[in-house]
Amino acid sequence: MRTKQMLLALLTVLVCSSLMCPSLMFAGTVSGKVTYTGTPAHQKPIDMSKEPSCAKEHATPIVTETVVTGANNALDNVVVYVSSGVPDDGQVPAQAVTYTQKGCQYIPHVLPMHVNQEFDIVNDDQTSHNIHPLPKVNTEWNKSQPPGTAPIKEKYDKPEFIEVKCNIHPWMHGWFVVLKTSHYDVSTGGGDFKLPNLPPGKYTITAWHEKYGTQTADVAITGNETKDVNFTFKATAY
């Protein structure tokens, strides 16, 4: 059974790479919505008065982004990815992803990327930042980036969920999510996510939220179809 499945997968990969049409071949899609039950933690407004150049970028003070919710109990900033099923094809996306510092905030708050994929860190502010990711598995570095300097280009060679800090502006907080797969999405604008281009097979889909942890769901894709998978996190106020 397993050999048959692997052969099928191998065949699809071969056919596909020869035709160079992955998006047409793999029509399976997993999509859904991330929601919460309970009462999420109250997000406090950030006092940026110590950094006037950033404070004036925000008409009203922005709030912390530990828990970002939307209408109908939608939960944003959840990384949804295929944690098992798709063999790690080792194909690192050539396109770099970008992490921007603007208004003393990280945009996006959560940046998923593939292992060894390059990412650019950009400073759009009129103030210096130091980019200080705090990995435990990958190596730790800490770089200064004054305004108007070139993007910092980096990559991580091991999968890990890495907290990102700016020591100069202690409210700045974000995440690098380094994954073994390129099948990932972040729930945004109402908790929606979509994982397209999945070849037929059995998958484990994992959803990770920085405060509420992980959830998994198993799903089988048999062909040209869209499977609905929804995640519900139990929100706690503390």
């Binding site: 200080h132 190596t139 770089k143 305004p147 910092i152």
Partner: protein
Amino acid sequence: MNSLKPMRCIRAILFATIPGSAILGSAIVGLVFAAGLTARAFAQEAPEVGPLRPLVVKPMESHIGNITGHAADAKDDYRRYCAGCHGNYGDANGENAIWLDPKPRDFTIATFKCRSTPTGTLPTDEDIYNAIGRGFVNSNMPIWNVFTKQERADLVAYIKIFSPRWEKEKAGDPIKIPAEPPVTLESISHGKALFTKLECWKCHGPAGQGDGPSASTLTDSKDNPIRPYNFAAGGNDSRFKCGNTNQDIYKIFMTGVDGTPMPSFADVIQPNDAWDLVHFLRTLQVNRHGKENEVLMAAHGVIPPYVDKNPAPAAAPADNKSPGGGQ
């Protein structure tokens, strides 16, 4: 003194306070200890609960000049002199660790503060060797000048057994430091302009007193509070964490102090500009007698505002933007 070596601190202190019984005591304890050693084959005293995890002393080496250090030879020295704070397993969980601030280095993550190599890379063997000999000012890490060069090299090799990074990675390439230009009022003035522009003052304070707006919020990579360096404290002999020469200061901000909020400025400061910053930083050490403060004194202690004599000649003619239009 050799017979005292394997004994633990507490005993040493006890005998120091009761000098009369010291010789007799050490003889007795020596006997007891020798018996214990054979019985437990050099194992540390067992903790209150459970057996000690086994520790594999990998055959790591260090190379300092023509000295080769061997991890196996540092086993006793490490347990006697280092494990109390850094822990038997190098995980910074020695029995004294909870009382210390800043915390001892955790060798299992192999992140080191004082390096001659870029941020995120492993230090050279010399970097660690020098750190052991120099000690860490404003911390509980003393100057270990009691070790011979060989013993110190052995310890450098020993701390490599705690992290697999030492088997997979090479040390980074030491940064290139150009020859130091002479100290002038202009270099100090340019250094001050950089200190302002690069926002060193956000943590270190406008006068380098460690009281910048972000100073009170700083934490290290293990979430322990940490203070930015106060340049103005201390007298003529005040030291930096990673050494006391101008080259050492250069290295600190061009490589960063890994594991702390202090980032690397290697990508944003040109090598010669870095020397100007070094000269200015020296003037923040107000009680130090050095050439930088002499130059400043000759100018009656006033640093003139920096005037850029060559305002970016490469960037301006390339396009037709008005000066100062781009970033």
